[in-house]
């Protein structure tokens, strides 16, 4: 009974996207002018850290304008929190042929 209660509290926290320990934070590496992974799925409330592993700066921005990073020089990182569910296509504003997508589930 007690175990069952803990399970439901746990499930509630996950579905509400609260409880930082429960949010599976992710990272995207930028190398060879490509986002890795280019298609990422996370839970609402999670963060995605973009890290530039190229010898050239990149700048990540959502196609809908909902987020953008500063220009990331080599080895620079930027962390974006995805609070609400949805599909967020993004691109590099400096090299717009570079595209990726974050799918945020409730």
């Amino acid at each position: 009974m007690r175990a069952k209660l803990i399970f439901w509290v746990f499930a509630l926290l996950v579905s509400a996207g609260i409880g930082p320990a429960l949010a599976a934070d992710a990272s995207v590496s930028i190398s060879n002018f490509t986002f890795h992974p280019a298609d990422l799925q996370i839970k609402a409330g999670s963060t995605v850290t973009f890290r530039n592993d190229d010898d050239i700066p990149h700048r990540v921005a959502a196609e809908d304008g909902s987020f953008s990073t500063k220009a990331l020089d080599s080895d620079d990182k930027a962390t974006i929190t995805f609070a609400r569910p949805g599909v967020f296509p993004y691109f590099c504003t400096i090299h717009p042929h570079m595209r990726g997508k974050v799918t945020v589930t409730p």
């Binding site: 002018f33 010898d55 220009a71 993004y90 090299h95 717009p96």
Partner: protein, 311 residues
């Protein structure tokens, strides 16, 4: 003074025309050598001829493996400009002046590129607009008297020069982009110009599609070419790809310049267009400047590229 039938003079002019039509576009000779030819009294007799230089992609602040000393190679290039026996009319810089749009990088660029004492006409590259305010630093420095994101035109000895900006508001999945406002301005700018006016258009990203997979082209570049179609002599000078690629289409000569900072791979020959590491002793063969000689008459402009390895 030799007349037109002087074989030595004819030879020089033919050679320069040949270079200008793009048959010979690599290692056509150094700027000093080229201008040595122009300094020949026979050629100097050509009415109102002048030369200008194109410098591109200096990337002040770049220090990665492909060239840890990009400032030094720019200094070498500027040294060549200062040593020219005949002073060019001016320089154009086709963008990526800095690597990261930092104020101190703009300062260093202005100081160094200003050393030869020539007027420099700039257009921005995407690396010049990545400050926190999306290009404010560039426009504060170079935007005076220009339109929109920094486009403009000017005339020199009867040649009409147009500096375009195709690195602003780039669209996801797209290439370089000029936008309706700039295209409308260009149509208006060219209106009333006789078809015989020689036109030189310069912009950072190539105005024609060289390799879309790497973003090497301009989405609405074809609309510029449509506006230029009626002119008898059009020269399009770009940077961005850090290597020479040239083509001639009708009356339009397209030409991209080398960087002074680092080479990039030929289209499709590497996993990405990132900086290309070449053996240290070969680096200077991949970096350089472009000289353009304007001669009046029916001939195309003579474009001569020189590398930092040329004497």
């Amino acid at each position: 003074m030799p007349n037109n039938d002087d074989p030595s003079r004819r030879k020089v002019l033919e050679c320069m025309t040949w270079a200008g039509t793009g048959v010979l576009w690599t290692f056509a000779g150094g700027v000093p050598k080229s201008l040595g030819l122009l300094g020949d009294p026979a050629v100097a007799a050509e009415a109102s001829a002048f030369t200008f230089l194109q410098i591109s992609d200096s990337h002040i602040g770049f220090n990665k493996a492909a060239n840890p000393h990009a400032l030094d190679t720019l200094k070498e290039a500027i040294g060549k400009v200062k040593a020219l026996p005949v002073k060019p009319a001016f320089m154009i810089h086709t963008g990526d002046i800095t690597h990261l749009s930092l104020p101190e990088q703009f300062d260093t660029a202005a100081q160094l590129i200003g050393e030869p004492g020539l007027d420099v006409h700039y257009v921005p590259g995407e690396h010049d607009l990545i400050d926190a305010n999306n290009g404010k630093l560039y426009l504060d420095r170079y935007g005076a008297g220009k339109k929109g994101a920094g486009w403009y035109s000017f005339d020199h000895n009867g040649v009409h020069f147009v500096g375009l900006v195709n690195v602003v508001n780039l669209k996801a999945g797209g290439l370089g982009y000029l936008g309706a406002e700039q295209l409308a301005w260009l149509a208006d700018d060219l209106k009333g110009k006789p078809d015989s006016t020689p036109i030189v258009v310069f912009a950072h990203i190539p105005l024609w599609t060289i390799y879309a997979d790497w973003g090497w082209g301009t989405d609405d570049g074809a609309q510029v070419l449509q506006l230029l179609r009626r002119f008898g002599s059009v020269t399009v000078l770009n940077g961005h790809i850090h290597q020479i690629i040239q083509k001639v289409e009708g009356n339009v000569t397209f030409h991209t310049a080398r960087s002074t900072a680092f080479p990039q791979p030929a289209p499709g020959t590497a996993p990405s267009p990132g900086p290309m590491k070449v053996p240290e002793e070969q680096l200077r063969r991949f970096l350089g400047l472009t000289s353009v000689a304007v001669k009046f008459g029916a001939q195309p402009l003579a474009i001569t590229d020189t590398t930092l390895a040329d004497g």
